[in-house]
């Protein structure tokens, strides 16, 4: 008898499961509004917190939720944003921003000078623990002149404020947001003035943004300054690379940034998908602990530079999609990049490399370690670099680390040769990595050099952007001469876009979905 009962229970559970599956299948598909335009973007990782002030790991959602005082146009130039215009005093120490009127936050509050002051003051407050604080250390004080005018007083001339005030981290928050919204701010509530409002965030799964119907303060350089055409943006987290590509192919996501080189060929065969390629503001390089033997000898550093066949590396690791790097900045930074880097750089010449090593006292070669993070790209890079260095007599042992372990190892200074790639769209990346005050971290190449400090500080504190750019060229010239790193490649920034997306416009920093992007609604 009992067995019959058991069987009955089992059968009914089974039927229930099957039924609910079918029902779930039916209910799906009806919930999306008939004419709603939804853009779904795929990401590999989620942010931990939706607050520009408290993390360095931004969700792209924050780009569209907040506006910034300064924007960057399609040519990468600095243009008005929430600030209609600004003046800089002759000594470069006082910046006056005239704010746009009639701008409203998503909670209905009017945007004023107080909001700018609160945002910057909160970042600068050590108790906030904002990772962005260091970037604003040039700011001495923010003064509210009147409701729509704000004055930023600097400790020293700092033209890079343009960059810092246009970056995601300086998105403007409503004054006293923390007091007003408490612990929910940055988790369940995020308030900005941007073209999209925060609707929902399911950590690890998705972030949903809805368009701000009242928006009409888009920057002048946009063709659409009013509300966006796309109703909703969904940022969907798909951690597995393969699954991400499949979703793109079947149309589960419409757009994907940072497409891995290995998938380009396959995706390009798909008539529904277009891949846009542009040189990224990234640089892949081989570095070394310059305070240790043998790297403290410039001849060894130059020999390593001569030993690398960069074209072959790009072919092998990036499937030929990328450019050879000659200098210390990506060429996409048009103002600051040193054009003659190519002529000054060390060409591939193993013979010369061997000769330099012999001159430096290593005629029989060297034995070193080569560290990298454990991503498949870096381990491939390590392998080919190992091979190329072997050709000139440098034997290397490869050591791979997970990302947190890698950072720790570099901080402790155990590295000899090591592989890095940075992603940054400003010349101040050189300050971060090579100023002696950043030793031992992030100055992980352990480059402590008076002349470099002098050149960088001089450049960073020029009164105008143009003079700063020129001065940074001098820094680059010196770094190439000293062979502080061995620059290798500039990768391509690849964006895969499905045919449903209309009016796609590439932007060198961040796609501006509110600037006329549209999407075909599935019937």
């Amino acid at each position: 008898m009992k067995i019959h009962k058991l069987r009955k229970i089992m059968v009914s559970i089974l039927i229930f499961t099957l039924l609910s599956t079918v029902l779930a299948g039916c209910s799906k598909g009806n919930d999306s509004g008939a004419s709603e335009k939804v853009l779904i973007i795929g990401y590999d990782q989620d942010a931990e917190i939706m607050d520009t002030i408290k993390t360095a790991w931004y969700s792209d959602a924050l780009i569209y939720i907040h506006d910034r005082l300064i924007t960057r146009d399609y040519e990468f130039g600095y243009k008005p944003g929430l600030a209609e215009r600004w003046d800089i005093s002759d000594d470069g120490l006082t910046w006056t921003f005239y704010l746009r009127k009639g701008v409203k936050f998503h909670d209905g509050k009017e945007f004023t000078a107080e909001d700018v002051k609160w945002t910057i003051d909160t970042i600068k407050d050590p108790d906030t623990g904002s990772p962005f604080r260091g970037d604003l250390e040039a700011i001495k004080e923010v003064k509210v002149v009147n409701k729509h005018t704000v004055e930023i007083v600097l400790n020293y001339p700092f033209p890079n404020l343009l960059y810092n005030l246009s970056s995601t981290a300086s998105g403007i928050h409503p004054a006293n947001a923390y007091e007003k919204y408490g612990d929910d701010y940055g988790k369940k509530i995020v308030i900005g003035t941007g073209p999209y409002k925060f609707e929902e965030w399911i950590p690890g799964d998705r972030t949903v943004l809805v368009k701000n119907e009242e928006y009409n303060w888009g920057p002048e350089w946009m063709s659409n300054r009013g509300p966006a055409l796309i109703d909703k943006i969904v940022l969907k987290i798909i951690p597995d690379e393969n699954s991400r590509m499949m979703e793109l192919e079947v149309g589960g996501i419409h757009l994907l940034r940072n497409v891995p080189e290995t998938y380009v060929e396959k995706l390009e065969k798909n008539p529904d998908i277009t891949i846009y390629k542009n040189p990224a503001t990234k640089l892949g390089y081989l570095a070394y602990a310059t305070d240790k033997e043998p790297f403290n000898d410039v001849r060894v550093r130059r020999a390593i530079n001569h030993a690398l066949n960069r074209k072959e590396i790009i072919q092998f690791v990036l499937r030929g999609i990328g450019e050879v790097a000659y200098g210390y900045l990506p060429p996409a930074l048009k103002d600051e990049y040193l054009e003659e880097s190519k002529d000054l750089a060390y060409e591939y010449n193993p013979e010369k490399a061997r000769q330099l090593l012999a001159e430096a006292g290593y005629p029989n070669g060297l034995e070193l370690t080569l560290s990298a993070d454990n991503s498949s790209k870096s381990s491939k890079l390590a392998e080919i670099i190992q091979n190329q260095l072997k050709e000139v007599g440098i034997e290397t042992k490869i050591q791979l680390y997970d990302s947190a372990g890698y950072a720790d190892m570099l901080k402790e200074g155990k590295q000899e040769l090591f592989i890095r790639e940075y992603s940054w769209s400003n010349a101040d990346i050189i300050d971060w990595f090579l100023l002696s005050s950043r030793f031992p971290y992030p100055n992980h190449s352990r480059w402590v050099d008076e002349k470099t400090d002098e050149l960088i500080t001089y450049a960073a504190r020029r009164p105008t952007w143009e003079e700063r750019a020129e001065a940074y060229k001098e820094v680059q010239r010196y770094l190439i001469e000293q062979a502080v790193w061995a620059p290798i490649y500039i990768p391509m920034h690849m964006i895969a876009v499905r045919k449903e997306v209309k009016n796609f416009k590439y932007h060198p920093w961040m796609l501006q979905f509110n600037d006329g992007f549209d999407i075909e609604v599935k019937k």
Partner: protein, 307 residues
């Protein structure tokens, strides 16, 4: 008596959990890397870095950090995530249900496939049916869960488009990972059912049942199977840990925000409180599952008594 036994078992959980937390805590403390680099970003100045470190008490020595953690756990609080700046318990509550659903479906599929397959293989020993079942199970054992998951994803979601490729929040998202767990788990369970069944079928009481003229069906399902299931229940209880392990990979492949992914992400980012919290919840549930298995014995076999 039974109740007393259960209480005893639950009390015994406490030292297990304490040892586990010390173990996990030490691994993290002595492992390289810390969560601050993730918050601070690659370009933070040392001052900013240190101030964030101080804010979360990460500059304190091991024992103080551990005691602080232990104190909050005893107060029923699993602490605050360093990276997400919100209660760990809230994060676990968000992530656990979906993992449990996949696990439950996996168990169900295991049971539905493994028991009939094992019984058929045992009853029809050394026939084509037996060979088919056992070959199938060998393939299942040899196939890692994540690999089967990728295969199912490719065929049923990408090619046939019957299911979503990435989690969509509906029940549909559970089916493929549920099958990936269920099928691989069924493989080993079916073998267990078969051997256990063969053992039981040799017993005297089965011969008695047959000789008193019961139908073969009654003999197998009424007498033999019940006894054969005891080791199978033990196995299922022990497999829970394995299922959670398999679910980590599946949650990544199927883009499902479950507790497995929460743990992996937290481990990589060195978000200690979250890893500790989820470990406590998982350890407790594995122990509880084994207690449940013990209780189930008494249901299947009334002769078993605990005292």
């Amino acid at each position: 008596m039974m109740l007393k036994y259960i209480i005893k078992r639950i009390v015994l959980m406490i030292p297990v959990i304490i040892i586990m937390t010390i173990f996990v805590f030490s691994i993290f403390y002595f492992a390289p890397g810390d969560p601050v680099s993730r918050i601070a970003g690659p370009n933070a100045t040392p001052e900013v870095y240190e101030s964030i470190k101080r804010k979360y008490g990460l500059d304190q020595p091991f024992i103080i950090q551990y005691l602080r953690f232990a104190k909050s756990v005893l107060g029923g609080d699993l602490g605050i995530s360093i990276l997400q700046d919100r209660p760990v318990i809230e994060m676990i509550k968000e992530r656990l249900p979906v993992t449990l659903q996949i696990g439950f479906l996996g168990f169900l599929i295991t049971f539905v496939i493994a028991v009939p397959a094992g019984v058929i293989a045992a009853v029809k020993k050394n026939t084509v049916a037996d060979y088919l079942c056992m070959t199938g199970s060998l393939v299942g054992i040899a196939m890692p869960t994540f690999w089967l998951g990728m295969l199912l994803l490719y065929v049923f979601a990408y090619k046939l488009r019957w299911f979503p490729i990435s989690g969509d929040g509906t029940i549909k998202q559970l089916i493929l990972p549920g099958f990936a767990i269920g099928l691989t788990n069924a493989a080993i369970t079916a073998r267990m059912v078969r051997s256990s069944m063969l053992e039981v079928l040799k017993q005297d009481y089965v011969r008695t049942a047959r000789s008193k003229g019961l139908s073969e069906k009654r003999v197998i399902f009424g007498h033999a199977l019940k006894n054969a299931l005891i080791p199978v229940i033990t196995l299922m209880g022990l497999r829970l840990g394995w299922i959670i392990g398999g679910s980590v990979a599946l949650e990544i492949i199927f883009s499902i925000p479950g507790i497995g992914r929460l743990m992996v992400d937290s481990i990589l980012a060195r978000d200690y409180p979250v890893v500790q919290g989820s470990m406590i919840v998982l350890t407790s549930s594995i122990i509880l599952a084994n207690i449940l298995a013990d209780i189930l014995y008494t249901v299947v076999d009334p002769r078993i008594r605990y005292s």
